[in-house]
């Protein structure tokens, strides 16, 4: 029989070999094999020598042998194992290999087969290779030694292409060489001046006199640095120091001490370079940018693109830069770059698409539509463009009722008139003010439009629009234009919409996964977690038939009210209805399943939940919610492995989902407890999420916020299960995320994160102060103040809270309170320069307010009411790009006034006087103090000073009298000195003056003695001197 077989398959001839009882001690692979189930079984089933003598098991081949009935030989009779791995010989079989899923075991089989120790079976080897490849295409066992490719490995054209490409490069190079050789004589020697100094010697002044010094330093640095010296640098300590700094949660400090924010020059010096070299460098920088982009380091990418552009500006690089800026949501610059591309290459499709995206995010829908139409006219089949066009038109439709903004616009007009009326007294300001008014009206129009659009759009697009005010203004201008023609255009658009909506189902169906944010939003809106407004959004953004849509929204309502059972019924009806219709866009169905799964999950019906999630995922692979729900269901059914896989998949799609992160960690612990250190091996493979479905942390700015409702929901459930430690960890993470957002200027997001922190821990003050900062940046002064108040209740000397509350008060135009708070800051730490500056400013404002207040009380009152109307406009303008806190947090009204030169008028009461004095004292402004003293009646001085006289103030008075007044008006100086001595606390303060300060007073008296006046006699001076203890 054997012989017969051998004849039939000459490749499979085998030499008889007596089996050995023990494995060869000289096994070719000395390293221990990782334990796996199959291997263990293989050794367990090691046969005895009994019937192995002289008998050779031939690996069975399934099909050809079936005829011969050899299959009747059961495996357990296949005694005998391979030499190397003790694999039962019976495993060297087509059938076994086809069924085996253990890659490691298969690899061993392959190694045995390849080694030829059990005989040579090329076909079986091939089959084994194929099997491994299908299980694990990256398996190392598949690697074979291969010779270099030759012409025969390519098609003739390819080979031709490869060669001609090289040839053309060669000729180009040779040509270039000759040229550059000619050029080289022109550019004799480098640019040695531009080179950085030699290491370590940079501090040496290059003069001859210092030669000795130079030598010394040189010899010093030549002392060999040995390892012990290197080791003295305690990395751990340094790192922990950095960490500690970070923990202070002062976001600014964090920003500076973070080592991973490299300072890279934005420009490259290209003097003396030939064109070729410039191209070389520009390309290099571009490549660096591309790599950074691919890794998700968009900031770095933008930097390198900028560098490339500084050498040679090209459209492609501008285009790439625009894309990176879109990822960073830096719409302003992205727009500029798109426009540059289009200047260079009109009609560049990518640039048009990108500009459309930017316009869309800036709510500049008309412009976006125009761009998309241009794309479609060039490429009518561009499905991305079609889809975005539809979405934008959808949004535009939601914006239709635009009657309200006009009303608001009118009110703002009133303000303009009012302003110019009341501004008559201050001519120099009116012009500026009018311009501001104009700005505001634009901003208001935009904001009003946005507000009008909001209910229809749901929570979709109210996010971080416009970083710069200027941008918003431009935007608003465009809006104005489009608002006029809006009616007409809208009508014509409607037609085209109808036409296009035929494609909608199709587009929705196939392109969902392409453009992440938009499609994801659409889904979120229609899921039950999307709080409020989802019924409206759901209706408009999906192509559900009306009946099903109605059922779904009913289901959503029921879900929200907690009637999960009824909601299930509604969803089921909707699903039935939709599936009954036959062909449908799978994503709608997927959402319905996902929603029903949510209901089941709430009911605790985990198995049904999993089923529904499975269906949803079949229709819409890698969508977040079903994955999350399935994970949660699996977890509660204690199917930790599956849950772990799902959470991991979720994290691949969007790594910022906190709940998934936490749960994955938790499950990891459970699994380690359960399965020991090798738990990973027991996991089924984690599916690899295609790049298109992945959301990196950066590109989903809007998306992460959309996910919030669901995450917080999950959070609430999990909070119960979480122990304190986890909560603390999560708290920290949230806080850090918040801090990161602050750094990026995403204050709204940051505030959101901090709010979540507060849910976990209300005691931690830093979170409140940080949120206050965010609110300040967002011009939400009330909220900022509230946060600061909270902090101060807990910690009554929190300097940051005082400072920020002061800013908030200032923003609320409550200058008195603001000044108070600034003073408190200065009491705690007198070295806070910002606080001093701010205090000064606020005091000025305060003074102005009080002096101007009486005269124009009425106008003032009116203005406030109007400003309230325009308040949304201010908010609509969004946070200005932030770098330094103090200046930017100023409310609009402030610079207008502070631009005016301070005119010190007589302060009406002791309090105001005190405030001004404090401000002056902070800045030691003698001239201003002199102004104050000239305007103040000396007789009132004791009253105004009340009991606030202090050494510093006295000194300031003396100094300003001495330097500014005594020369001009010695009489007044005398009067002041005289009445000053009548003030309360004068004696005490005087007693505390230092010697130098006394000298100053003496000097003043000397000055007064010299310059006689009719207001005082020398006797008077002498007696006053005595009062001053001189």
């Amino acid at each position: 029989m054997l012989k017969h077989k051998g004849d039939a398959h000459p490749g499979r001839c085998i030499s008889a070999r007596p089996r050995q009882a023990l494995p060869s001690p000289l096994s070719p692979d000395p390293r221990p094999e990782p334990s796996c189930a199959c291997a263990a079984w293989a050794t367990a089933g090691r046969p005895r020598l009994r019937c192995g003598q002289g008998r050779v098991r031939v690996p069975e081949t399934a099909r050809p042998r079936a005829v011969m009935g050899d299959e009747s030989v059961p495996y357990f009779l296949g005694e005998g194992t391979t030499k190397t791995y003790q694999i039962p010989i019976s495993h060297l079989d087509y059938k076994f290999i086809e069924k085996c899923t253990d890659v490691k075991h298969l690899e061993k089989i392959l190694r045995v087969l390849r080694s030829g120790e059990e005989g040579c079976y090329p076909e079986l080897t091939l089959a084994c290779e194929k099997r491994i490849e299908c299980l694990d295409p990256r398996s190392r066992a598949l690697r074979k030694d291969k010779p270099a490719a030759t012409a025969s490995d390519f098609t003739a054209e390819e080979w031709q292409a490869i060669n001609s490409e090289l040839m053309s490069w060669l000729s180009e190079m040779n040509e270039d060489d000759k040229k550059s050789q000619l050029l080289r004589t022109d550019t004799p020697n480098e640019r040695p001046d531009n080179l950085p100094p030699i290491r370590c010697s940079s501090s040496c002044p290059p003069t001859n006199q210092n030669k000795n010094l130079q030598n010394k330093q040189r010899s010093k640095k030549n002392i060999p640095r040995d390892y012990s010296e290197w080791d003295k640098f305690d990395v751990e300590k340094e790192c922990s120091k950095i960490d500690e700094d970070c923990e202070e949660s002062n976001s600014k400090a964090r920003f500076f001490c973070r080592p991973s924010l490299p300072i890279i020059e934005k420009k490259i010096d290209t003097t003396g370079m030939t064109k070729r070299e410039k191209i070389f460098i520009a390309t290099r920088e571009k490549e660096k940018g591309n790599e950074a982009f691919a890794t998700g380091d968009y900031v770095e990418a933008v930097t390198y693109y900028t560098r490339s552009l500084s050498v040679i500006p090209t459209a492609a690089v501008y285009n790439n830069k625009a894309q990176a800026e879109i990822k960073l949501q830096d719409w302003d610059n992205a727009l500029q770059d798109c426009e540059k591309v289009l200047d260079m290459e009109p009609g560049n499709i990518k640039a048009l698409m990108r500009r459309a995206t930017v316009h869309n995010h800036l709510q500049n829908y008309q412009a976006a539509i125009e761009d998309l139409n241009e794309v479609l006219s060039a490429e009518p089949e561009n499905s991305m463009a079609k889809k975005s066009l539809l979405e934008i038109e959808e949004k535009l439709k939601g914006l239709k009722p635009v009657s309200e903004p006009q009303g608001k616009g009118k009110k703002i007009l009133i303000e303009e008139i009012e302003d110019s009326e009341s501004g008559e007294g201050r001519e120099e300001n009116t012009e500026e003010r009018e311009r501001r008014g104009g700005d505001k009206s634009c901003g208001a129009a935009a904001a009003a439009r946005a507000a009008a659009g909001e209910p229809a759009m749901g929570n979709a697009h109210r996010k971080s629009h416009g970083k710069g005010k200027a941008q918003q203004d431009r935007d608003a201008h465009k809006h104005k234009d489009s608002a006029e023609s809006g009616g007409k255009k809208g009508a014509s658009k409607k037609k085209s919409e109808k036409h296009l909506s035929d494609h909608e189902g199709e587009v929705n169906g196939y392109l969902r996964s392409d453009e992440k944010s938009e499609s994801a939003e659409a889904e979120e809106i229609s899921t039950p977690h999307g709080e409020g407004s989802q019924s409206a959004g759901g209706g408009s953004s999906t192509s559900l038939p009306p009946a099903a849509a109605k059922l779904k929204s009913e289901g959503n309502e029921l879900f929200k009210s907690g009637q999960f059972g009824e909601a299930v019924l509604k969803y089921s009806e909707a699903i039935e209805y939709v599936t009954g219709l036959g062909e449908q866009s799978p994503d709608d169905l997927s959402i319905l399943y996902s929603n029903r799964a949510a209901c089941y999950l709430k009911e605790g019906n985990c198995s049904d939940c999993i089923q529904d999630c499975n269906r949803a995922l079949e229709l819409q692979p890698f969508s977040l919610k079903p994955l999350l729900r399935r994970a949660m269901a699996n977890e509660s059914m204690e199917r930790y492995r599956q849950a772990y896989i799902d959470y991991k998949t979720v994290l691949q799609i969007d790594s910022s989902i906190q709940a998934a992160n936490d749960s994955a960690n938790r499950i990891t612990k459970t699994l380690i407890d359960q399965d020991g250190p090798s738990w990973r091996e027991k996991l089924p493979p984690i599916p690899v999420v295609p790049a298109a479905a992945q959301l990196h942390r950066w590109d989903g700015g809007s998306l992460t916020s959309e996910n919030k409702p669901s995450t917080t929901d999950i959070n609430r459930e999990e909070e119960l299960q979480m122990n304190c430690e986890e909560a603390a960890e999560k708290f920290k993470r949230l806080k850090n995320e918040g801090n990161d957002f602050v750094k990026m200027g995403e204050y709204e997001e940051a505030a959101h994160k901090y709010s979540e922190c507060m849910k976990l821990n209300t005691e931690e003050c830093t979170v409140y102060t940080n949120r206050a900062l965010c609110y300040l940046k967002l011009y939400k002064y009330e909220e900022a103040k509230r946060d600061c108040d909270h902090v101060l209740q807990i910690e009554d000397s929190n300097i940051k809270a005082f400072y920020r509350r002061a800013l908030a008060h200032k923003g609320l135009q409550n200058y008195q309170a603001s000044a108070d708070d600034f003073n408190k800051v200065l009491v705690i730490d007198p070295n806070v320069v910002e606080a001093q500056k701010e205090l000064e400013e606020v005091t000025q404002l305060l003074h102005l307010d009080s002096s101007a207040g009486d005269g124009s009380q009425q106008a003032h009152g009116k203005k406030i009411t109007i400003q309230e109307v325009s308040d949304p406009a201010e908010r609509g303008e969004g946070p200005l790009a932030a770098a330094e806190g103090a200046e930017e947090a100023e409310p609009k009204a402030v610079p207008r006034r502070s631009s005016q030169k301070l005119r010190v008028s007589e302060p009406p009461n002791a309090y105001d006087f005190g405030q001004i004095i404090n401000a002056l004292n902070a800045s030691k402004d003698k001239a201003a103090c002199a102004d104050l003293l000239t305007t103040t009646d000396p007789k009132t001085l004791p009253v105004l000073l009340s009991n606030k006289l202090e050494g510093e103030i006295l000194l300031l008075f003396i100094q300003s009298l001495e330097h500014c007044i005594a020369g001009k008006d010695p009489g007044l100086a005398y009067q002041h000195l005289f009445y000053l001595s009548k003030a309360k606390r004068f004696k005490v303060v005087l007693a505390l003056l230092s010697k130098n300060e006394k000298e100053e007073v003496q000097h003043l008296f000397d000055l007064l003695t010299e310059s006689q006046s009719d207001q005082y006699s020398l006797e008077d001076l002498e007696s006053l001197k005595k009062v001053y203890e001189l």
């Binding site: 490719a149 390819e158 190079m173 080791d231 790594s655």
Partner: protein, 360 residues
């Protein structure tokens, strides 16, 4: 393997094979040209520098220079694009800089080490790397020295073991992190498996690890960016890729390792046009082309809240076996993507074309 897959993958074509009459230790493309240098040792114990130019399918000798000592390694890294001076390290521990137009006398010469200079690297030239042009040499005498061609006789930095500690043979050195004028690091690999990362800005040892086997070659994926990745190859056929962006206070940098073959990996070189693709050359005359894939998230917080890196994964794009002898040197053309030269101990230098690198 399926033909479809084969077509998609990059192929390595051996374009030119040139037999040499000496042992080649290093080969380098001359920047902005189709010329290449071969450095080595002639049978009679002298050093050889050969300049070849690629003409179609053959290499033409333009110049042959003989020097008294065998030359181990060379670099163009610290020279300008106009000058293109070659810096070499020889068996006697001399660092020389040659003007290839007038190679009789070196432009710069210093007896830098007591023993053979095993490895050399340059930065700050060719428009690669901000800051001063500097050359680093690593020698059997256990020291790593950094040189500035503008400073005669003495190194600008010297890293050597403390007295009494055994001197380890330094096999490989590489510059990195030169993204602005201040920052710069040198990475050195030793025969005992030590890898040390010296920060030249702070003049301190920033990190060290041991990969258990002698470190044959280290290279950063790019020298002139905030250090991103480091590949270190070892004697026993493994190589490690470190993610250098996130340094954990105790765990250092995250890494992934891969075994390419059973023999020593002599050399690793990153594709200059794409930092995530690199080639390793092996003791068995084989070349492996790898791609590094980043994880979804490159760093995470550990239980104490400090950042730690997450290593990605590696995939083998192609492997070929060219010779039975080790391939000791490898260099990608900085100008032509996919063009590559390698020198093997079978006294042959090969110009290779790697196709389809654009499609990865």
């Amino acid at each position: 393997m399926s033909a479809v897959l084969g077509l998609e993958r990059p192929q390595v074509v051996s374009h030119v094979q040139q037999a040499l009459s000496y042992t080649v230790f290093d080969c380098k493309w001359v920047p902005r040209s189709a010329r290449l240098m071969c450095l080595g040792s002639a049978a009679r114990g002298t050093g050889i520098i050969q300049l070849y130019e690629l003409h179609g399918a053959r290499l033409e000798v333009l110049r042959e220079i003989e020097k008294p000592k065998p030359i181990k390694c060379g670099t163009f890294g610290a020279t300008s694009l106009q000058q293109r001076f070659l810096a070499t390290g020889d068996f006697d521990g001399n660092l020389n800089i040659w003007n290839l137009e007038a190679p009789e006398i070196p432009v710069y010469s210093v007896k830098g080490h007591k023993e053979i200079i095993n490895s050399i690297d340059g930065v700050g030239g060719l428009g690669i790397g901000e800051g001063a042009p500097e050359i680093v040499t690593g020698s059997r005498d256990g020291t790593v020295k950094v040189w500035d061609p503008r400073q005669k006789d003495t190194p600008v930095a010297n890293m050597e073991p403390v007295q009494g500690e055994s001197k380890r043979d330094c096999w490989t050195v590489a510059f990195g992190n030169a993204y602005n004028q201040e920052e710069r690091v040198v990475c050195a690999g030793y025969d005992n498996g030590d890898i040390k990362l010296f920060d030249l800005k702070t003049m301190s040892l920033r990190w060290e690890t041991n990969i258990k086997n002698g470190v044959c070659s280290v290279e950063f994926d790019r020298k002139d960016i905030n250090m991103n990745k480091l590949v270190a190859t070892s004697l026993e056929g493994k190589f490690h890729v470190f993610d250098m962006r996130t340094q954990h206070p105790t765990k250092g940098f995250a890494s992934v390792s891969e075994k390419a073959q059973k023999s020593t990996i002599w050399q690793v070189r990153h594709l200059p046009q794409n930092r995530d693709i690199f080639m390793t050359s092996g003791g068995s005359g084989s070349l492996h082309l790898w791609k590094y894939e980043y994880p979804a998230q490159r760093s995470k917080k550990d239980s104490e809240g400090s950042e730690m890196g997450v290593a990605g994964s590696l995939s083998l794009l192609q492997n070929v076996t060219l010779s039975t002898q080790p391939i000791s040197s490898l260099d990608w053309s900085p100008d032509k993507k996919g063009l590559c030269v390698c020198g093997a101990f079978d006294q042959t230098v090969r110009v290779l074309i790697v196709t389809k690198l654009n499609k990865i």
